[in-house]
């Protein structure tokens, strides 16, 4: 919570602070998409043959598909031929061997974002993979992780060094036929992070990827694959920002998580893509497919997301609870202001016995924004004693915004217990009055109430992120109060 009204006023006048552009020499493909682009992409990445085939298969499938229209969002059709599918800072032919060889301007850009790539300066205990436009520019703490047996590297590197793992797992959770944007991603994904935690290893530090879109007219298509082998444990964080531009940029990522027997994956996202200006001009289209497969018994996947950015957010981090006794969790805060639109939620597919899932979703809508929770809880016949609890609350700030709830519940197993609760309300005058009576300004009171509303989710975030998330919330609500 901010300390005084003065600070709030400063905040209100503040722009999207990650909105700067880094001037760089880049290698960028001309806009356009056909098979030759995919051949070129695969070649530039030095990929094995099977990967090229996979991409082409996905591309051909994508061409047969139509852009989905069921979500509660409105946008003009995207011209996929006007997007450039590859943009990378220029660098030496064989890539940087160490941090010293990275373009200092890229390092500077990350410093400005508060993500110094210099290991000494970094908060102890977090390893970062930095993805700048289409490529990963640096991964920190590689050595230390290697000692523990953990593989944490850009996915393009994993394609060369661990093709057998990629071949086995890539597309096994989100197949290239899954949906329109997943097919596109499978065809043209450029980079992303790859994590493999071997049997019985508890990852010694938090892993983190920081995505940055910099170049104009490009789309970012990253792919993240996390495999937690038997009995392992990993916590992964993801952050993202982009410059302020008047045109909309597409970000279509795919994230696949595989949790084997007794493994635990915790995946946290603080999404702060450029949301567009006050009049709804510009901003990122964030169309993401995220899915976890709890393959082994007793495995657990926990998604936590704080969605404050993007002109349009359209994503449903999901859990397929295949293993017996597996657990899926989804904690989300989605905040929309001005003309932002969010259609987000989760899917929990109960297949194994005694599977449990928890969904806590908090939507806050302000300005002229539309905020939609859409979630599916499906209990198959095999899922004896499955248990789900869903709670989704919406808070409306202002009278021109919308908050919507579309839960889908499908149960085929009588021993399952499924509960869903949802409420929609505004900040009550009584609450505000109470706070003001105790000497708090209206803005502080709103900030405090909103933070309280979201607390259930924030407590799931790793400490550094929780602080960032709270600050972001204050920032994104600016101008919507009083």
């Amino acid at each position: 919570m901010s300390a005084s009204t003065q600070e709030i006023n400063n905040l209100i006048n503040q722009e999207y602070k990650q909105g700067f552009v880094t001037e760089l020499e880049t290698n960028t493909f001309l806009p356009g998409l056909d098979e030759s682009v995919i051949h070129k992409l695969s070649k530039i990445k030095n990929e094995p043959e099977f990967m090229l085939e996979y991409r082409l298969k996905a591309f051909r499938h994508w061409q047969t598909m139509k852009s989905p229209e069921w979500a509660f969002v409105k946008f003009d059709p995207i011209d996929y031929q006007s997007i450039s599918y590859y943009s990378a800072p220029k660098r030496k032919e064989d890539g940087p061997k160490s941090l010293d060889e990275i373009d200092p301007q890229v390092l500077e850009a990350y410093k400005k974002l508060g993500i110094p790539l210099d290991e000494q300066e970094r908060l102890a205990g977090v390893a970062v993979d930095a993805v700048f436009d289409s490529v990963s520019v640096a991964t920190t703490f590689k050595g230390k992780l290697k000692d523990a047996g953990v593989i944490f590297c850009p996915i393009s590197e994993a394609l060369r060094d661990h093709p057998e793992l990629i071949k086995q797992y890539l597309g096994s959770v989100v197949p290239h036929t899954d949906n329109y944007f997943a097919a596109l991603n499978a065809a043209v994904f450029t980079d992303g992070s790859f994590v493999y935690i071997p049997k019985g290893v508890r990852c010694p530090m938090e892993l983190s990827t920081y995505f940055r879109i910099n170049a104009a007219n490009t789309g970012q298509f990253e792919r993240t694959l996390i495999i937690a082998d038997e009995g392992s444990h990993v916590s992964y964080l993801e952050g993202c920002t982009a410059p302020m531009r008047d045109e909309n940029q597409l970000h279509a990522a795919v994230v696949e998580l595989v949790a084997m027997k007794d493994a635990v994956i915790k995946y946290s996202t603080v999404q702060n893509w450029y949301p567009g200006d006050k009049n709804g001009l510009g901003g990122i289209y964030n169309f993401v497919t995220k899915r976890a497969d709890c393959r082994g018994d007793n495995s657990k996947v926990s998604w936590t997301q704080v969605e404050t950015g993007s002109a349009i957010t359209w994503k449903y981090p999901s859990c397929v609870l295949t293993g017996d006794n597996s657990v899926g969790e989804f904690y989300s805060v989605a905040l929309t202001n001005n003309y932002q639109q969010a259609d987000t939620g989760t899917k929990m597919i109960h297949i194994g016995k005694n599977t449990r899932s928890t969904i806590v979703s908090k939507g806050i809508s302000a300005g002229k924004a539309q905020n939609t929770y859409r979630g599916l809880v499906k209990v198959l016949k095999s899922a004896e004693n499955a248990r789900n609890y869903t709670q989704c609350d919406s808070l409306l700030v202002g009278d021109q915004c919308g908050a919507h709830t579309f839960p889908y519940i499908e149960v085929k197993q009588p021993s399952a217990q499924v509960e869903h609760e949802a409420t929609t309300s505004k900040i009550s005058e009584d609450q505000l009055f109470f706070c003001q009576q105790r000497g708090l300004s209206a803005e502080d009171a709103v900030s405090m109430i909103v933070n309280g509303f979201c607390k259930e989710v924030f407590k799931e975030l790793p400490m550094e992120f929780a602080v960032e998330a709270q600050a972001l919330l204050g920032l994104s609500l600016e101008g919507s109060v009083g």
């Binding site: 202002g398 009278d399 839960p407 519940i409 149960v411 949802a422």
Partner: protein, 442 residues
């Protein structure tokens, strides 16, 4: 994904057009033509339609349903009819969609109250001001393929009019009886309650043991400060397909309540849509019991258009064998509709391994000063309650029966008309998935 074929209904239309009511009304002919065109171009809904994603209507392709002829109706046993016809109510009976004056009981209707066959009313200019402009105004044929089918094909139905300040002493029952194998029965009901009036209405759907398609559309206009309760008792034959839609317009301060007891039919779907003006209230209740291979759907849509509206929904389902229950509820709060208070609840009890419950309670809210909540549960009986009863020397099976019955009986108890309550309770008991309900519990 198979989409049910409409060609039989489109191609056969010229042959049956002479059977349909309102031939002398040009505006109605135009509406029928529009409805048929809608059916031709858009067909029946498929699973790809968001509102029909859990309702697979391809079953209507498996048999060829033809328009029922009045002359082909099977004689009805009067004792059988008595189980459904309330003695202490005015009743209008439709056999295979056609009005039957002999079976109806419309004696002693007070002045200012009209209960008449829609086909007859259309021949009488006395009623034209009531019908024209209202028919097809609460719902249009663009709503879905079954409303379009009904709009093109309805042969008869009921017109109920309650003039202002009229408070009905007895309920009015519209009794739909199906008697013919493979009949397609399309009926239309128009209910108009003027300001400050009060009425209890009952729609009952029953049939002989045969396979038929029943499509019933009701349009209800509740005037300012009027109060209308509509009880729907759907006990169709267990081979029947039933698509019923109730479309309501509520004026300022109007109150509307709809209770749906959906017990019969192989595939039975009920849609209730209502538009609420300022400070109007609606209460929608439903109980569905599914056994064998039954699928029973309840779909609601409540549009809060103006401030201070109140809506309450409670739908409960008990599903056994391979039955499937579907609830899709949608509450829309428009930008203007501040201070709206809306609650939606759906509770499902699954009794067998093959039963299924699908539910989708949706909220769409464009106003900030509102209280809206929805809740859904799907599950089993509370083990603690069973334990409690067992600790009181009730054996487990009886305990389960008691609790299951109590779960359903909450809805039956909401019916305050004694004879109707008894009728519904009797139907619930005969169709109850579990045997061994003890009358002493009642």
């Amino acid at each position: 994904m198979a989409t049910a074929n409409t060609s039989a209904y489109v191609d056969g239309y010229p042959e049956v057009v002479s059977l349909l009511c309102g031939q002398s009304l040009p505006w109605l002919q135009q509406q029928r033509a529009d409805a048929l065109l809608q059916l031709t171009t858009h067909g029946f809904p498929s699973l790809r339609d968001e509102d029909w994603r859990y309702t697979n209507v391809s079953a209507i392709d498996k048999k060829h349903y033809g328009v029922a002829l009045k002359s082909a109706s099977v004689a009805i046993d009067s004792d059988w009819l008595k189980t459904y016809q309330l003695a202490d109510a005015w009743s209008l009976v439709l056999i295979d969609g056609y009005f039957s004056a002999e079976l109806s009981n419309l004696n002693g209707l007070p002045e200012g109250v009209t209960v008449v066959s829609l086909a007859q009313a259309m021949q009488d200019t006395h009623y034209s001001a009531l019908i024209e402009g209202r028919l097809n105004s609460a719902v249009e044929s663009t709503e879905n393929g079954f409303v379009a089918l009904n709009g093109a094909y309805f042969v008869d139905g009921a017109l109920i009019y309650i003039s202002s300040k009229q408070v009905l002493a007895k309920p009015i029952q519209v009794l739909h009886i199906a008697t013919q194998e493979l009949a397609a029965i399309n009926t239309r009901t128009l209910i108009v309650a003027d300001e400050l009036s009060e009425a209890q209405l009952i729609e009952t759907f029953a049939g002989l043991d045969c396979a038929y398609l029943s499509v019933a559309v009701a349009e209800v206009f509740v005037g300012q400060n009027a109060a209308v309760t509509l009880h729907k008792v759907q006990v169709e034959s267990d081979k029947a397909l039933h698509f019923g839609g109730t479309y309501v317009k509520q004026a300022r301060d109007a109150r509307f309540r709809h209770d749906n007891f959906a017990l019969g039919g192989l595939l039975a779907r009920s849609d209730v849509h209502t538009d609420l003006e300022q400070a109007s209230e609606c209460e929608l209740n439903g109980l569905y019991l599914g056994v064998k291979r039954q699928q029973i759907d309840n779909h609601t849509r409540i549009n809060h258009l103006k401030p201070h509206g109140i809506s309450r929904q409670l739908y409960k389902g008990v599903l056994d064998d391979k039955a499937r229950g579907v609830f899709q509820g949608r509450v829309v709060v428009a930008e203007d509709a501040q201070k709206t208070d809306s609650q939606m609840n759906n509770r499902n009890l699954l009794l067998s391994n093959d039963a299924e419950a699908d539910t989708k309670p949706q909220l769409e809210i464009y106003a900030d000063d509102v209280k809206c909540a929805h809740g859904v549960t799907v599950g089993q009986l509370d083990e603690k309650s069973i334990f409690y009863l067992q600790s009181r020397c009730v054996d487990e099976e009886t305990a389960r029966n008691m609790l299951t019955f109590a779960f359903a009986n909450e809805m039956v108890d909401k019916v305050k008309i004694k004879s109707l309550h008894d009728l519904i309770l009797g139907q619930v008991l005969t169709r109850f998935p579990q045997e061994g309900i003890n009358k002493e519990w009642l």
